[in-house]
């Protein structure tokens, strides 16, 4: 079903050696590596089809526009959106959240209003709302974390009230791996007329997404976390929301008619794509999505769960290792601490073994606070990782223990 040898050959960087040791790339929650088709699509665009989009009458501009717009359709199908008009290309999940905060919520937010987040949010799904709340004397309310790494959804009926103007929540935690089942929350919010933004930055690469089934009003993700390039990401918003929103940035391409007295804005989604966009990024993202689709997200999900179960079992046998985040439903992320050894030392020593992991707070300081740890070491796995690599990761951890005594 899953020819891992063949898959690994698609990713040139995976055959690299680090300090004379085979690279074991286990920092996929931070960013994923790129398969050859993604790399090729960028080279091909610039070699054969590149020009600016949406303006020239010339051949190349038409070709480039066609590729860019068909990338939008690829995204639409990938997340099962109703229409390609609901797909806005942005720089990444962070910009998408800022866009919603500024264009949707800001004009509707009043003093005393609340924005409901969760305790496991990435800083990028906290700060844009915090900045906005400060400007309008609104406040953030938080769905708390439970000891095991699940969110305490039993608090939702208390937290969701008529003061809440927006719910913004992650579908999968980048530091704990927790996958949140969001349908009940979405339904409850909608019962009160409150829109829901789902942060799909992590979830997008791990299991199939259906924004219509999820019924979220906004969904955001970054290209680089799903094997595409950096600097490209997606805001999905239901058409009815996009149409009611003010522009985010002003510039070319987002207008129909301009005079110094008045500007008529372009239709959606172009109204939100001011200036020349990341054309090659969007096209390479669609290559990445096609690549992932060809492997099949169900297959990826199944394989990664197998990896996670194996890694969890192996890690638990290491004395003094504590896994942070043991939610019932988890993606392939394991955060851990080693008794008496700081994660930063762990990361440096593992690096010398060729193992790339992330150490630190993973842009989730409230999560670290909750677990009373300053930082963790995070192993985040992708479909190109193997059980043999997990064994090597365990050996590297044992080396850390040996060296640090």
């Amino acid at each position: 079903m899953f020819d891992i040898k063949k898959i690994r050959k698609d990713f040139p960087i995976l055959s690299k050696e680090i300090y004379g040791k085979p690279l074991i790339y286990a920092d996929n929650a931070a960013s994923t590596q790129k398969p050859q088709p993604v790399i090729d699509s960028i080279v091909d665009l610039y070699s054969n089809n590149y020009a600016n989009i949406h303006r020239g009458v010339h051949y190349l501009s038409r070709e480039s526009t066609k590729l860019y717009e068909s990338a939008r359709e690829t995204v639409q199908k990938f997340i099962q959106a109703a229409s390609a008009r609901e797909i806005v290309f942005v720089r990444g999940a962070t910009e998408a959240i800022n866009l919603v905060a500024s264009s949707y919520l800001e004009p509707r937010l009043n003093a005393g209003d609340e924005i409901l987040l969760s305790e496991m949010e990435h800083h990028s799904n906290i700060i844009p709302w915090q900045l906005l709340a400060e400007r309008h004397q609104a406040k953030l309310s938080i769905i708390p974390l439970l000891e095991n790494g699940d969110l305490d959804f039993s608090q939702v009926p208390r937290l969701l009230n008529s003061r809440v103007k927006m719910v913004a929540i992650t579908q999968m935690s980048n530091s704990l791996g927790t996958i949140n089942k969001l349908d009940t929350l979405v339904q409850r919010a909608h019962d009160l007329g409150i829109p829901v933004l789902v942060d799909g930055a992590q979830s997008i690469a791990h299991f199939p997404i259906d924004v219509q089934a999820l019924d979220c009003d906004f969904f955001v993700f970054s290209g680089h976390k799903i094997y595409g390039p950096t600097g490209i990401g997606v805001l999905y918003a239901k058409q009815i929301f996009l149409e009611s929103m003010r522009p985010y940035q002003g510039g070319g391409d987002m207008i129909l008619d301009v005079s110094f007295e008045k500007t008529e804005f372009n239709e959606i989604p172009y109204k939100f794509e001011a200036g020349t966009p990341n054309i090659s990024g969007a096209i390479a993202l669609s290559s990445a999505l096609n690549y992932v689709s060809a492997l099949g997200l169900q297959n990826i999900d199944r394989y990664e769960r197998e990896l996670l179960a194996y890694a969890t079992k192996q890690f638990e046998q290491i004395e003094g290792l504590r896994i942070i985040g043991k939610a019932r439903n988890k993606g392939s992320i394991i955060s851990f601490v080693l008794e008496g050894i700081h994660p930063h030392d762990v990361g440096t020593i593992m690096d010398m073994e060729g193992v790339a992991v992330r150490t630190g707070h993973h842009c989730t300081q409230p999560v670290m606070e909750c677990y009373q740890v300053p930082a963790t070491t995070r192993v985040s796995l992708a479909f190109y990782n193997t059980k043999a690599e997990i064994d090597s990761i365990c050996s590297a951890i044992l080396k850390v223990k040996e060296l640090m005594g």
Binding site: G340, I341, P343, T348, G360, P374, G405
Partner: protein, 150 residues
């Protein structure tokens, strides 16, 4: 592994496990907080300075082996020294961990602190080694601001 052994020398591991002068100090004449937001390293540095001499120096906090042992060795090193020399020591130490050439005299002056020479092979860890020193400078200038090395 040899670079790692060079980085995590016995002295460093020992000071990480049993940091010296690891206590709050009341009363103190100078104090500053050091913070590496990316790693989560945090330390509080206390000094008692009389007649331009460092009579006592101590710290508390949590951090990686490099930042903890660096703070511990720094406090041992500075106790009884004159504050007018601290800037010079800071610069020598900075040169040491960033791999700039040091004169034999300077290296000799640094004494035990020379064990941090291995840090230069690990650019990502320079900020760990230097955190306590930045905090020291802040404390002496009593800016009361949190020292950062990011």
């Amino acid at each position: 592994m040899s670079e790692l052994r060079e980085l995590y020398q016995e002295v460093i591991l020992d000071h990480n496990k049993n940091p010296r002068n690891f206590r709050e100090m009341t009363p103190h004449s100078h104090h500053a907080t050091g913070h590496n937001p990316l790693c989560g390293d945090k330390l509080e540095l206390y000094l008692k300075i009389e007649n331009g001499m460092i009579e006592d120096i101590s710290f508390i906090g949590s951090g990686c082996a490099i930042s903890t042992s660096s703070a511990s060795l720094m406090t041992q090193f500075l106790k009884g020294k004159s504050i007018k020399d601290t800037r010079k020591y800071f610069e020598c130490f900075h040169d040491l961990v960033t791999g700039k050439p040091l004169s034999d005299n300077d290296l000799e002056d640094l004494g035990k602190l020379a064990v941090f020479g291995g840090v230069q092979e690990f650019p990502a860890r320079v900020k760990c080694a230097i955190l306590s020193w930045h905090t020291l400078i802040n404390a002496l200038e009593t800016t009361n601001e949190t020292a950062k090395t990011e």
